[in-house]
Symmetry: C5
Subunit: 367 residues, 5 copies
């Protein structure tokens, strides 16, 4: 009977219900404070050194080991898993990545962006994952530097990424990726990152659907907490997706020599998808507004029901109160009090008047 949020919170554990710790993660961010980033304990460098004819796949744990790939007349994808300031700076200096971009690579919670600085086309965005356990959207920042015949990618988290399909294509000699220049590799990476956004959105879509059923069925503090949580996840989703539109568009409109004209149509294909991802995130937002309305309406309908029951009971009691009051008075001279049928008439009225009232209410459409 007690729907007091406070009580629920005390019993069920406040953090897991309304997720205020999540608020902290989402809102207390500062992209300009590089010192926040913890140094990775170990880093893994994977190099894909390829041309149309052959592909060599190597793993290193010292960044210096990949320096000799520079200008070897083949295309190199150097993927660095784990961020360590010293290593990022070493690699960047070797491949002429500007200090401002180093700062971006090492920053946390940066807004997705693209930039062209001194011969490097630079993209920073987030890979999204859906954590089934906490039902939250997780992000992993990835920085991609496209240079002449090389792509260097820096990932925060060595344990996961979304690039396996790209790796598989690299291993096939006749895949398009092997026939083309390094910008096509950049395309392939952005494409798979964006495709992955839809997978995260599918998961969120399921949450929206489950929540809708829950709101319809219950509309209590728990569903309220869930609405609140999902709204926060949609903020995370949208702020990671919206700027990627400008990122891809920036590449399409760029006149950099690093971009082959034949690749433009592929970036346009990614652009189609990121636009649709954004539209879908707006649809989710509309849906959450409907849900919020639905919730309030349900709560109001329940209140109405409760009030109706109370009003009806109050009315039905009225005759008993009045008639009982009248004949319970201790006057000497109360008419019909000595009458044999008096009691039965009085009780009959106590019952008949409510029955008549109930029928009147029903006619009025109250229930």
């Amino acid at each position: 009977m007690n729907m007091d949020p406070q009580k629920y919170l005390r019993y069920l554990g406040l953090p897991s219900l309304f997720g205020t710790h999540r608020t902290k993660e989402i809102f207390n961010i500062n992209p300009t404070a590089p010192s926040q980033r913890e140094e990775a304990t170990e880093i893994v460098i994977t190099v894909y050194d390829y041309n149309a004819d052959s592909m060599e796949e190597r793993k290193f744990d010292k960044v210096q080991d990949c320096f000799h790939y520079k200008n070897n007349n083949r295309i190199n994808w150097i993927n660095i898993d784990g961020l360590r300031k010293a290593d990022v700076e070493l690699v960047s200096n070797q491949f002429n990545i500007h200090p401002l971009l180093i700062e971006d690579i090492l920053s946390m919670h940066q807004r997705p962006k693209m930039d062209e600085v001194e011969g490097i086309l630079f993209c920073l965005l987030n890979m999204l994952y859906f954590n089934e356990a906490t039902r939250t959207v997780e992000t992993e920042q990835i920085s991609i530097a496209l240079g002449k015949d090389f792509v260097i990618s820096f990932q925060e988290d060595a344990s996961r990424d979304v690039f396996d399909p790209v790796r598989n294509k690299l291993r096939f000699g006749n895949s398009k990726i092997r026939q083309r220049t390094a910008d096509y590799l950049l395309y392939a990476m952005l494409d798979i990152i964006v495709d992955n956004y839809f997978q995260v959105m599918e998961k969120l879509g399921e949450q929206v659907e489950l929540l809708e059923e829950e709101v319809i069925r219950r509309s209590n503090t728990k569903s309220l907490a869930r609405i609140n949580q999902l709204r926060k996840e949609l903020i995370v989703l949208k702020r990671n997706i919206a700027p990627v539109r400008d990122l891809i568009n920036g590449i399409i409109r760029s006149e950099s020599d690093l971009l082959d004209d034949r690749t433009t149509k592929y970036f346009k294909d990614v652009y189609d998808h990121i636009i649709q991802a954004y539209d879908l995130s707006e649809n989710y937002r509309d849906m959450m507004t409907s849900m919020q309305d639905l919730y309030i309406n349900n709560v109001n309908l329940k209140l109405n029901e409760v009030m109706k029951v109370m009003a009806i009971v109050t009315c039905l009691l009225a005759p008993a109160t009045v008639i009982g009051g009248i004949f319970g008075m201790n006057f000497d001279n109360i008419p019909s009090i000595h009458n044999k049928w008096g009691f039965f008439i009085a009780v009959g009225l106590m019952l008949l008047i409510p029955i008549w009232m109930l029928r009147a209410f029903r006619r009025r459409g109250w229930f």
Copy 2:
């Protein structure tokens, strides 16, 4: 009397009332996952091979049968009903449709788009149908590739489309469509698709009207469910219509050689209509907001009425409670208790005070 949504849902069947399965259809979509599409069990190829002088209409069930139409110096409309990966690829390769466009043709739930890739002007959009039984908006994806002297259209569903008026015009030798180049055929197809949007919107408009009457009359869980459902259908409508504006505008501003200058004014006519369709969908949205407000206001008015009845009954009972309480006490010395008229005066007060109160309430404008 019980307006608890939960109860209704249990009795009437939850899916049919609030339509959460529809939420799943609308929100859990992923346009980048081509494997989702089931292969069509059979496909039908219809070819309209025409010029101003003659028109040949043929049906095939193997895509190879239409290959010889290529470059036959006549205009060909090759319509392929049913999507099968192998067949789409065969046709596309024959007519130089780029693999990226093949991917689009085979994708599901793609956002409407237009593109020009290597000599092909490509449009992908959805035909809309209104399903009277489920009262939902259904979509069928159609991809149209305009090349030199040919139009190839790929439809998801062999059982229906909106092109019968186009077919009829093709059969008339003196119709404009027969006198003009292939881009006029593209125009004719887009025109009829967009015209059809208005038919779907008319049906939705009827639903809006019926719902308004229902909300005014009842404002219960059922009308709430209906508001929720219609809001979802409007999301479907809008996300299919809004991008078509860019699609048509892209054609108007295109400088492709495939487009005859004389056809531009026709595409502008389609543009007029798609803009109006979009405006109308915005009007629907405003109307749904009004409806939502109306619903809440009605629920509040009803609550007010119930509370008033209860307040009035409570007040009317007050004298009976007080007077009955007073003279029901078992004190020895109660004045006027032995008086002959005592009882009648007490009962009289019990009735007269409420009558006076009722009049006071009425003066205050309570009812």
Copy 3:
């Protein structure tokens, strides 16, 4: 006492209260279905054939009668009241109006637009009238085709238009309209149509004002219905005004030879007004939002008042209930029951406690 909308509707007639039939008129429209238009039973052709020196005013009932005005080296305004497919096509073919424009002229509920097609500058918009009886905004579609030295206007309804001031100016030899080219006549017509929008808005403004008074005074189902109705009329207003901005702007930016440079400043003057008309319609919208809020607030205040009365009565009854209950029990040993003043003390408490409570409530600011 019964504020149930349903009851009101049953007694007062549903259609006239919430105006759902109006919803049908506003939302179930399809501009692409020309067959909807009923053929006019009769048409009236009025020709104003003028130059700076003289003006001839003639009326015909056959469209062929006006054909000889073409290329007579004077300026002609051919106004056609009533739309009949065959006649529109005859006139249009004679004056080289493109079939796409014919389709527009014959369409219904078309969005206002301007277009330049093969030597014709074409405007389609709606004249607005305010129907005092139904308190709705009525529209009459007007199509104006400006050609070399002629203006042809097509009106839906022969019984009314807004052009009388234009006609009066045409009759004065020294009016500017007589000194200038045909585009000045187009300006004069658009100017008066837009000026008339303000008259309709003045009427709607009066309705807004009346409604505000009503909402303040009553806030019942009737005022709710009226808010709902006015919101719909504002949708009609806005969708007729908003696109006219683009229409006038299109003329100003057009480089058509039909437009004299000296007339541009006049179209800019119309543009000033249509922008202001649009702003004003936005102000109306804001006002309606305020009104909706006001309504809900009033309903809530009333509910609060009712609840307070009930709470107070409940509290005031409490002592009578308790004391009456105590001394109404049939125990043998009830102290002070045999006391001479017992009854009076009990009744006194029944009255004094409520008086003390009332004062406490008043101190708390309840009433």
Copy 4:
């Protein structure tokens, strides 16, 4: 106790509380109806005839008296207080102000605008005043025509304007205004008009602040009325400020010969201020939304409090009702009725149960 708006209105006078007459003033406007303007009973013409060396200040009451200033090789500011159709036309014809601009000068409630017509740069905007008595924003239309070496300003109201600081600067020979061309005078006038907007906004800001305190303290019909009133004043404020941005921007981007390049930076300074004024008016709007929310929240909190009191009293009465009912029955055989302590135990339970309930409520955080 009675918070019925209706009652308040009856006692306090409806017009002064919700200000519906103000709605009329704000919404029933028609800028295209020049006949609405009442002719001024008298007009005052003030001429400032100056160059860097000397300044002559003269007052006339006939417009013809200022005609000889035209082309006197000095700069003239001719300020005309009071609008009379014939006089405006006389002056305008003398100084080559186009009839369209005459129409604007004589119009009422025109949207602020700038225009360049045949050698005249024309600005129309409103000076704003805050009426402390009615707490409303008052407007005075001012039209400023900048020509070669002259500025002519037309004011509606002879009794007030905001130009005293400009006049003072004109009287100083070494002020910048005296050293520069006529466009600098236009700048000085627009600058002081815009500066004055901030003064009006400061007054409105005070009203917002007072209202916030009132809403926090009371949240009754009176504060509701005040919210409603202020929202209307903000509409007036915004519709007078927003278009001035375009006006100033139009001057900055104009390539008119009347504007000296050296003055551009001054107009940019005005532009800074009008942008800020607009931003501030948006902040006011946000604040009013917060206030509206605050109001509703306060009303709801009060309702909650009332309901809690009632619920608590109802609960506290329950034991008395039940126990009193049980032992008030007239059965022969009622246990413990003859017991010496029966009455005291019953009454004790009547008191102890409520005390226990109160403590339970308090633990539940109800109060």
Copy 5:
């Protein structure tokens, strides 16, 4: 039990609860009234006179002391802490800062802006600080004038600024700031100002998080006041951040000779951050909307709970009222009144009916 805001306010002190004095500070501002600014009692001039080889750091208290740095062929940063009209004018005249910019420097509450006036690139913006005690956002206006080889900054408040990191870098001979031209110093200053916005936002984010917990836990007048306060701080935040986007963008697009091409990428880096700061402020706004909804929903849930308790108690009392009323009547002939078990059956019903009702309510999902 008393949640009346009024009472709270009386006890806790109104200003500190809803912060209406803050409203005054935020809304009653007038940037065009320079006289508002109090003259600083003392000013401190700090000069950093540097080139790649050496750096001299000096403090003065008379502005004349820094005049000789002009055109000394080294780069000078002249920072003036404390604003005194005479001094600002002296410095400005010496370094050719235009009087319009002097006016800006001396103004209060000016909207952030950038401007190029006669060889000076001028930026005015606010440094933000978070006051932990009052939990408000404080602003300090800073004007920065970039000229040929000098930067002059004017600060309102001598006691604090955010430039310590810049000073530290200046002291290192091999820092980039020492190697570059004066525009790089401007960049360094803007960069640190913008970086500091994130620190303020982090603090506000903590407030948002704390408030969310409070709203979930309590939803009373105090949390309502806090929501109201935070909304005001977000207005301050946004109006200081939003215009800085245009400021930085203006510098990037400027073609001033004062800006070295090599510095553009650095200003773009600042632009990334200010865009993200703006996005984050929008996220805060969305979060506050969620919070407002959460608050209302919680209040409604509590009301529902209270009403349910009351409805249930009312229902449970009904049998006692009716049965007690029936058998409390004083009729002679009441059946079973003399029966030995009559009383027990009656009391049994009084208890059993409520138990049965409670179970029915529980089945209905009421509690």
